[in-house]
Symmetry: C3
Subunit: 340 residues, 3 copies
Amino acid sequence: MKLTLGEIARELDLELKGDASIEIGGIANLADAGPGELTFLFNSSYKKYLGETRASAVVVRAQDADGCAIAALISEHPRMTWALVARLFDPTPVPEKGTHSMAIVAKSAETGENSSIGPNVVIEANAVLGKNVILGAGCYVGEGSRIGDNTRVFPNVTIYHDVHIGKDGIVHSGVVLGADGFGFEFDPKTASMVKIPQVFGVRIGDNVEIGAGTTVDRGALNHTRLGDNVKLDNQVQVGHGTTIGANTVISGCTAIAGSTRIGSWCLIGGGVGIIDNIEIVDQTEITAMTLVSHSITEKGRYSSGTGLMPSRAWKRSIVGFSKLDELIKRVRGLESRSRE
Amino acid sequence: MKLTLGEIARELDLELKGDASIEIGGIANLADAGPGELTFLFNSSYKKYLGETRASAVVVRAQDADGCAIAALISEHPRMTWALVARLFDPTPVPEKGTHSMAIVAKSAETGENSSIGPNVVIEANAVLGKNVILGAGCYVGEGSRIGDNTRVFPNVTIYHDVHIGKDGIVHSGVVLGADGFGFEFDPKTASMVKIPQVFGVRIGDNVEIGAGTTVDRGALNHTRLGDNVKLDNQVQVGHGTTIGANTVISGCTAIAGSTRIGSWCLIGGGVGIIDNIEIVDQTEITAMTLVSHSITEKGRYSSGTGLMPSRAWKRSIVGFSKLDELIKRVRGLESRSRE
Amino acid sequence: MKLTLGEIARELDLELKGDASIEIGGIANLADAGPGELTFLFNSSYKKYLGETRASAVVVRAQDADGCAIAALISEHPRMTWALVARLFDPTPVPEKGTHSMAIVAKSAETGENSSIGPNVVIEANAVLGKNVILGAGCYVGEGSRIGDNTRVFPNVTIYHDVHIGKDGIVHSGVVLGADGFGFEFDPKTASMVKIPQVFGVRIGDNVEIGAGTTVDRGALNHTRLGDNVKLDNQVQVGHGTTIGANTVISGCTAIAGSTRIGSWCLIGGGVGIIDNIEIVDQTEITAMTLVSHSITEKGRYSSGTGLMPSRAWKRSIVGFSKLDELIKRVRGLESRSRE
C-alpha cells in the first residue's frame, strides 16, 4: 500500500512543502523511519533530530518546518494528523463477511447484514447483532446479549448473557463481559459464605474500546454501565454495578470495585485501585497506582503512594514512616518546650 | 418469571406486611426499583429513601418497617434474604444436558451423568468429570484433570493436566488453572536462565468460586492448593505451590507469589501483593493494595501504602518521605540540644 | 515413570552416596516427599529436617551430606540439579504431531514439519510456523504472524496479525499478543477521542516464556519488542512500542506502559508499575509493587511504597504522611529558633 505525499496532503487537507510525487508506504517514529516512510515531529524539542532522520517526509508544525531538509506536511496538530495518517496505513485485516461454517448460531439469534461471524464462534439464543458486526474466531455470545452496528470483537472474547454493547465499539481478545460480580453473604447459621446471584447485566455505550484481558462484571442490583466513548486499556477490572461516565479513559491493570460511580471525562492511570461504593466526580484525574479509598467530590488530580528510591534509602524511609506518629509527637514536645 | 409476595414470604419463611397477591418479577436497588420489583433496605440510615422508592415491596428489618408505605417482607438479615431471593430471579441460563456434537472428548475421559459439555470443548485423555458438571463452550480440560459433581465452568476456561477441582464449584471465563509456575535457575556456565519444570498440579476444594481471568499456577515441588469454600475474584494470580486455606476470600487483581501459605477465613482486599515463601495466619485481613512483604503471625488487619491526596500536596509529601531518615536525625539533634 | 538413583546420578554426572538401585518415581519438597521420591536440601539451615524426611533420597551439597540417613546425590548447585532432575519427571503431555481435523488453517499459511496443530485452532493467511511448533486447542494465529521452531503455545492463546515469536519459546494459555496499544488523541473540534491505529506489530526473541493471561500490545510507531530469553510471569501487561531487553525477568501482574525501554538482565518484581516513555538501564532490580515514575539511569535496586503495618498504626502514619511537608517546616522552625 503506497500513497504519494500529494495524495496524503489532499486527503488530510494539509500544506505540503516538498515533492508531491514522493511515495509513502508507511509511518514510523523519528529514530526508526527510513526511506519511503513518513515520520512525525510531535515536540519542538526534538527538532534537532530532524536533520538525522532517514524518513522521506515529516509531519511538523509550521514553526518547526523552517530549514527542514526533507519534505514536510504542515499540521497545527501533528498528533491528530498522526491518527488520521495511521488509518491510511492500518494493516489490521478485515475478515470476510458472512457466517463461517464452523460457527454455531442459535436459531433465535439475529445477525445483522454484512456481519462477519468467525469460526468456532458460539451465539446463544435470542442474541441480537447489528449490521457490520465482526466477531472473531472463538468468541462466545450469551443468551439475549446484544452487539451494536459496526462493533468489532476480536478472537476469544467471552460475552455472558444479558450484556449489551453499543455501536462502533472495539473489544479485544481475552475480554470477559458479564461474569458474576463478587458477592457473598456470611451465614452465621451454617458458618459459610452464601453466593448472591448476580441477576443484572452489563450495559456498554457506543464507541467504547475495551483492551485485552479486561473483565467487566455483571450487576447484582443494577446493571454495570460504561458510558459512550469510554476507553479501557488491557487487564482492567470493573466490579459489579459500577458506572463509568462517558469519555472516561482508564489505563491498564486498574481495578475498580463494585457499586462505584465514576464521572465523565475522568483520566485514570494504570494500576490504580478504586474501592467499592464511592463516587468520583467528572474530570477527575488519578495518577498511576493510586488507591482511591474514598469519594472524590472536587475535580482535580489525585495520587497516593511514595516516590521511587534506591532500596537502601527507601528501607530507612519506610522505618521512618512506621514511626511518623511518634515523630509528630516528639516535634510537638520540642515545640512546647521551645515556647516555655 | 413472576412470583407473588405471598409465595416469596412462604418460600423464605418471612413475615409479610401487605398484599400477598402483589406480583414480583425481579429485584433492584432502592433508587432504581420500579413497579413489580422487590427492593431491599440494608442500612437503616437509608430509611428516608423508602418513601421515594417506586418498588412494589421491600425487604426490611422489623425496626425499619414502621410506617413503610409499600408492602414489606420482614427479615432480620436483609442481605441474606437478598441472596436467597436473588436465586429465585436468577436468569443465568442452564445449558442442555449432553455432549455437544462439536465437543472433542478423548475416549479414555469420563463424563458423569447429567453433565453438559458445550461446543468446541476439548477434554483430554483420562480426565474425569463428575455428575451435573457444566463445561461452557471452548473450555479445555487437560490430561488426567478432574472436575467434581455440580461444578460449572463458564466458556473459554483453560484447565491444564493434573488439575483437580472439587464439587459445587464455579469457574468463570478466561480462567487458567495449572499453567507453569514461574521458576528459573541461573546457570553461570551458560549465563542463561534454565527453566524448572513444574511437575506438580493444582488441587481445588469444594464450593470454590474463581473469578474471570484469574490464574492459578501448578506447583514445582508440591501442589498449589485452594481449600474448600475459597472465593477468588477476577484477575487474581496464585503462584506455584501456594496454599490458600478454607473459606478465605480474595478480591480482584490480587497477586500472590509462590510457596506462600495463607490461612483460613482470611479476607484479602483487591490489588494486594503477597510475596513468596511466607505464612499468613488464619483470620488475617489485608486492606486493598497492601504489599505483604513478610509473614503475618498474629491475626488482625494489616495495611501498607499512603492515603489519597491532591497530587500537588502529595508531591511535597513524597519529597518529605524520601528525607524521613534525615528528618528523624534532625529531630533527635533538636532533642539532645533541648536537653542540654 | 521410574529411574534408579544410579541412572539419575549418571544422567546428571553427580556423586551418589547410597544404594544405586533405589527406584525414584518423582520429586517433592522436604516436608512432603515420601518413599520412592527424591527431595532437595537447598539451604543448609534446613539440614535439621533431613532427619525427618520420608524421602528415599536427597540432593545435597557435600558439606550437608555428612550423617545424612538417606541416600544422597551430591551437587554443588542443588537448585540447578533440581531443574535438571525435574525434566526427567515432567508429566506435561506432548500432543500428537499433525494438524487436527478440526483445525482451520488458511491455504497460504505454512506449518513446519513435526508440528502439532490442535483442535479448533485458527491460522490465518500467510502465517508461518516453524518445525516442531505445538499450538494447543483453540489458539488463534493472525495474518502474517510467525512462530519459530520448537515453540509451544498452550491452549486458548490469541496472536493477532504481524506478531513474530522466536524459537524455543513457551506461551501459556490466555495470553494475548498484538492487541491494539492504547492510543487516542483528543479532537477539540468534535470534543471526542480519536483512535490512533496501531500499525506496527510485536517482535519476540528466542527462548522467551510468557505466563498465563499476559498481554503484549502491538506498536503504533515501532514494534513492541521482547529480547531473547525474556521471562514474563502471569498477567503482565506490556504497552505499545515498549522494548524489554534480553534476559530480563518480570514477575506477575506487573504493568508496563508504552514506549518504555527496559534494559537487559533486569529483575522486576510482581505488581510493579512502570510509566510510559522512560528508560531503565541494564541490571536494574525493582522490588514488588514499586511505581517506576521516571527513568533509571544507574543500575541497582529500587523501591517505592511503605512497609506492612497493623491497620490502626498505619492510619496514624498516613495522616502523618499527609502532613509531612508541614512537619518539615516545623522542624526547620525549631532548628532556627534553637540556633538563636
